[in-house]
Symmetry: C2
Subunit: 335 residues, 2 copies
DNA sequence: GTGAAAGCGCTAACAG
DNA sequence: CTGTTAGCGCTTTCAC
């Protein structure tokens, strides 16, 4: 049994039904000039036939795809989900569809997705770049409008605006808070590619006269497993560490889990600050002190930047904020 | 200063460069038959010119859009994020882009998004339907391939396959577990539209000979605020309730928060079971007992259904599982 | 103010 | 095996 597929109503059908030319229909429907009478007829016919203009035809003609592409490392990560939500929400108000791609923070996969996007003639892309800034070169030359969100590419791509949270400020505040509690052996659990935050971290330590140990900066890949391994490894290897700062909420989750597993008490044995606020930070035991970032705003602003044609500001910096809850305490040597 | 936008390389350019006709290029690139020599020339020319076929042209010609549309209530909800991740992951293996829309569980917004999708000529859609089954009628008649994920529409739309988790089984197991612990006053915090689960809930109670009180089924809207209000309201209004089952993780979050705020201890004063397992359920204090659903699988399977052309099974049911942690205890009257 | 016609980039007939 | 041709549905000159 075959589903009775009805042929799509086209602009031509409407033109015939209204007794006018196709050009007129097009004009009326896109707000061009037409006599009141004609407009009336066209609108009536369109409504009667339940006509929906085909984005395909329009886009082909205009050599561009409506809609925006969005590339995030992991949609399962609450931070990126909120960022995506911001993008979606802004795009909706422009009536633009958004096509999403997950890069897994893998430069190769990222290029692959970029390929798909330009194949779709997407001419506006928001990305949390995972990889090689060079990968963006062909895209830019193809005239695609790119905005980076949450981080820049490395090496940096000039001419691409970005919407960022103030990592530096966040890290500095956190480190000051921790040193204020007496901590000296502070570790940083980072995701690969968070060199920005790592730099801010070591910079903050130096500024406060705390010696920097390279070994206390630990890198993990994007996956939960890798995060857990990194966290557990750190806690076991360095019992002298009394405070940990994590570069993201997946890493924070891993740190809490690892600490619990290894019977390291938070905040008694080690203080913990996590990058990015998530709903569960408050439900956690103990409730986690975090560096909150306006994930949703970042997405929204990035979408605005890419959707609003006209002059484009170079870069937008949004504030981070230290939200103190109960995962930090005064330094008490663990061993 | 104007960005030097280079005109897109078209199939015609490649044809000229290779000294063949456009049809030949098309054939070679889509795996049709051609002499080894010609194929060579075409491929070389394509590579040299960095040619990427335009999906726009192809789709217009073929009267369909590659790619699949995905409609979820809230991408910020970890369950739907994981579902989306499953879809994305499957789609990627088919090389299909996915366009995502957030419905906010609002039928009106859902219709709006459906409109956008058919305007894009999307001919394959995966949806967690929020509303009116009737809204899907025009879509189906337009020949769009729809698969529902995680729930069906109401009133149900025939001919639309669905990938579901076994709600019924999950609820029954949970209720049995709770009654086994001695609980009789069990409340169900539901999102609007979860009539399936509510029915399973009351059904399970009846089967166990526990009297059903309508007032113990509380409905909330999709937002966190509404969820919190519902949870807090229930806990205050009915101090005789000793166990709560929540229809989703946002509601679970709200219940934990409300209980904490109202100084109701879990599981001492009230036992709590949440629908859907999320990473933070384990980090919560106490760790939450949950009905786990294979969110990612649901998405993946739904994508498979919609992408694999050919015979389409009616419906797929995936198992739910009760994961016992520490949020339930024996009944102890609260007042 | 309105219609006819020319494509946008591609594929599928249809000839050769 | 390959080239020519006719559109897919739409917008946009360009005449009238």
């Amino acid at each position: 049994m075959q589903m009775p597929v009805q042929r799509r109503t086209t602009i031509k059908d409407v033109a015939e039904a209204a007794g006018v030319g196709v050009a007129t229909v097009s004009r009326v429907l896109s707000g061009g000039s037409a006599s009141a009478e004609t407009r009336e007829k066209v609108l009536a016919a369109a409504a009667r036939l339940d006509y929906h203009p085909s984005a395909l035809g329009r886009n082909l003609r205009q050599r561009r795809t409506g809609g925006v592409g969005l590339l995030v490392p992991d949609i399962t990560d609450s931070f990126y989900a909120r960022l995506a939500d911001g993008v979606l929400s802004c795009a909706r108000s422009y009536g633009e569809p958004v096509t999403i791609g997950v890069t897994g923070d893998d430069p190769e996969r990222e290029s692959e997705m970029i390929g798909t996007l330009i194949e779709q003639s997407m001419d506006r892309v928001i990305a949390v770049p995972s990889g090689d800034g060079d990968a963006w070169d062909p895209v830019l030359r193809a005239g695609v409008n790119v905005v980076f969100a949450s981080r820049r590419a490395e090496p940096d791509v000039p001419d691409v605006p970005a919407v960022l949270a103030d990592d530096r400020g966040g890290v500095r505040t956190a480190v000051e808070y921790l040193t204020g509690l007496g901590h000296r052996k502070i570790a940083f659990l980072a995701r690969r590619g968070q060199s920005q935050r790592v730099a801010a971290f070591t910079g903050a330590l130096k500024a406060l006269g705390v010696p920097v140990e390279d070994e206390l900066v630990v890198h993990a890949r994007a996956s939960r497993d890798s995060a857990y391994a990194a966290a557990a490894g750190l806690l076991q290897r360095r019992p002298d560490v009394t405070a940990v700062l994590t570069g993201g909420n997946i890493l924070g989750e891993a740190a809490v889990l690892a600490a619990r597993e290894l019977d390291v008490r938070v905040p008694r044995d080690v203080s913990l600050i996590m990058f990015d606020d998530v709903p569960w930070a408050e439900l956690c035991s103990p409730p986690l002190t975090v560096i909150a970032q306006p994930a949703q705003d970042i997405g929204y602003r990035a979408a605005e930047l890419v959707l609003r044609q006209g002059r484009r500001p170079r870069t937008v910096m949004l504030p981070s904020e230290l939200v103190v809850r109960a995962s930090c305490g005064p330094r008490r040597p663990r061993q």
